[in-house]
């Protein structure tokens, strides 16, 4: 069960099954979005167990690195391929988000899935996260921001922020 209060972090985790004697074992690399290292390692084994015949008991993590954002001031369009469990079955989805970082986009995705499909974090699997070029985006909400001379007013603006405590 994932508990997320801030933005997720992106980890690159490399692991492999333990090798007996001199046999060569394959090495697997995964891109995990998690709030901290412990959850990241846990999710790595969770996915690896589903995809390959490796368990945490029979495997080892070779390397875990925190991936930092290479361009934090450039806005990108992210296409996220998700698999999630609804109340009656498992479905694949392709979702698009606009953000400055992949971690921001994936965090948005989790929030969005919870809001729109009541999907909890444990039932969501992020399959692929990729930067999508503006021309190849599919969702109109994302495409509406691709206007080079974009402008909009703020009609009916209500500023509710009140810092004073009630008592």
């Amino acid at each position: 069960m994932k508990f997320k209060c801030a933005e997720l972090k992106e980890y690159q985790i490399v692991g492999k099954p333990l090798s007996k004697a001199n046999e060569k074992t394959p090495i697997y690399k995964m891109r995990i979005f998690a709030p901290d290292e412990i959850v990241a390692k846990s999710r790595f084994w969770y996915f690896l167990r589903q995809l390959k015949k490796v368990r945490k008991v029979n495997g080892e993590i070779l390397r875990m690195t925190l991936v930092s954002n290479k361009s934090p001031t450039k806005i990108k369009n992210f296409g996220i391929w998700v698999r999630y469990d609804s109340r009656s079955g498992s479905h694949n989805m392709y979702r698009e988000y606009r953000d400055v970082s992949a971690t921001g986009a994936v965090t948005q995705c989790y929030r969005d899935m919870a809001a729109r499909h009541r999907a909890r974090a444990h039932s969501i699997q992020i399959m692929k996260v990729e930067v999508v070029k503006a021309g190849e985006c599919k969702r109109p909400i994302i495409k509406q921001m691709h206007d080079s001379s974009i402008k909009f007013p703020l009609p009916h603006r209500i500023l509710k922020y009140n810092k004073k405590s009630i008592f």
Partner: protein, 118 residues
């Protein structure tokens, strides 16, 4: 025009809330309907994303291309002399007055109270 002030590329904004409250910045790009990429090289705001409700729009605007570099923003800001123009706006003056009022000592507050009642 029905609306005077638009959120657009190059619009000078005043940051109401957050880490950089009280400073001005320029809209460089837009993430979505609720988030902007802003930059304030002259006022000490690093290039970062900000929420729309943290920001108040001003009348001032500079001509910059979408997503341009910080240096270009700095050049255009000095060319348009935004810092002096912003100091003349009522928003800036009200913010200054608020800051002065918050910095009053007890005696100053007493003097103010007396001056208001006479």
């Amino acid at each position: 025009m029905l609306y005077q002030r638009y959120i657009e590329i190059g619009r000078v904004c005043y940051i109401r809330l957050g880490e950089h409250a009280g400073k001005t910045c320029v809209v460089v790009d837009m993430v979505d309907q609720k988030h902007l990429l802003v930059d304030g090289p002259m006022s000490g705001v690093p290039r970062s994303t900000i929420r729309l409700n943290q920001v108040a729009i001003t009348d001032l605007k500079i001509a910059i291309p979408r997503g341009c570099k910080t240096n270009k923003v700095r050049v255009e800001l000095t060319k348009a002399d935004i810092s002096t123009k912003f100091a003349k706006t009522s928003l800036s003056k009200k913010a200054e007055a608020k800051k002065d009022k918050a910095g009053l000592g007890d005696f100053e507050r007493f003097k103010l109270r007396v001056a208001k009642t006479t």
